[in-house]
Symmetry: C2
Subunit: 211 residues, 2 copies
Amino acid sequence: MNTVSQRTIERLSLYRRRLMVELADKDYIFSHQLAKLANSTAAQVRRDLMHLGYTGVPRKGYKIKDLISCISKFLDPTHIENVVIVGVGNLGKALLTFFKGRRPKLSLVACFDIDENKVGTEIAGVPCYHLNEMPQRIKELKVNIGIISSTENATKAISEMMIAAGIRSIINFTCYPLNIADSENVFLEQIDITASFEKAAYFSKTHLKKL
Amino acid sequence: MNTVSQRTIERLSLYRRRLMVELADKDYIFSHQLAKLANSTAAQVRRDLMHLGYTGVPRKGYKIKDLISCISKFLDPTHIENVVIVGVGNLGKALLTFFKGRRPKLSLVACFDIDENKVGTEIAGVPCYHLNEMPQRIKELKVNIGIISSTENATKAISEMMIAAGIRSIINFTCYPLNIADSENVFLEQIDITASFEKAAYFSKTHLKKL
DNA sequence: GATCAACTGTTTTTTATTTCACAATTTTTA
DNA sequence: TAAAAATTGTGAAATAAAAAACAGTTGATC
């Protein structure tokens, strides 16, 4: 199986977004131009595009329209994927709003919380249910993707509920480092904002390339 | 110069947070135990700790208290670092709240927006100024770290303002891929939430390790 | 229509990161 | 006190990722 790296998938996602912007201006783009737009290198771009089976034309480049649809065919789910989010505090709300209508093939269908003031309402147009209802809703709505933006100490329990209910992919925005057994076959993306901040602080004093 | 990788810095940050939790329970910890807590491996932990110059004791492990202070000495700025955030929409607000009091050596001293309803108020206890004032405030407060959570199309201009004002490190939460010249010597952390979502979608169908 | 210039797709090389493996060390046990 | 057991620190090997190099095409130019 020709497995594609996470890094490549991230870049393909970025290429597509940059290409959408360019589409208004022109028909074709060279690898070095796309590289510049995506903050990468020409070699890296060509390498990434190899996975698509779409080939450009020397001296002419890639037809933007075709390249976009090729990336879409590669990246996007065939049908619309339902997504849920657990924990509708500040970050959860921000993600709901951010997410809204951003990707046509990803549909945020429900959010969950334990705060009775939120349960039963709609937040950014998305219905909020009690956490207890999550397993049932996930099954009913055939949800494959779950986002966790709860408190740190609820993370583990929530992830276990998600996995038991059949979730295939988790994005964890809490700082609790989830540990999912390989045998579960669940994809995990850990976004550790605290680590990012501390890294920024560390390199603000250290990141001096030329001394 | 013995430069330490970004990955290692991220893990050290995580180790410290996990160790803080353990500190309540016990005095010493083995590399394989810390690895389990941080979702890593014993070899990786030992390798990362090598950079600290702190050595553990065979058959006894690392003294948690000492290890924490050693990581802190390594990671933390010597004095308190001021941080600013630009763009106080949903995500910006969430980051403000999230950040509040989380790291003692990092102090969020100001946020900026162009919305006149926000300018002049306090958001999560942090004063909000007009974006125009940013350069001056950054210089006055000797701010080294800037967070961007604006709209996508404002990102580039904001980063240029930041760099011109003397910022040393930028965390960019917008999807616009900033391109900072090496010569600027500014550290950049790009957090592309859209890419994370699309990655999660991609691997939810693909991430089947054993077929 | 032959030559040149510039770009693509892919192989090779280089660099970075992780894992392995093991001598050295320390505690525990006898 | 000697032997056994378990863990550390680190050099070496393996793996992963990025960059470089280059043959093969294609469009442009004369």
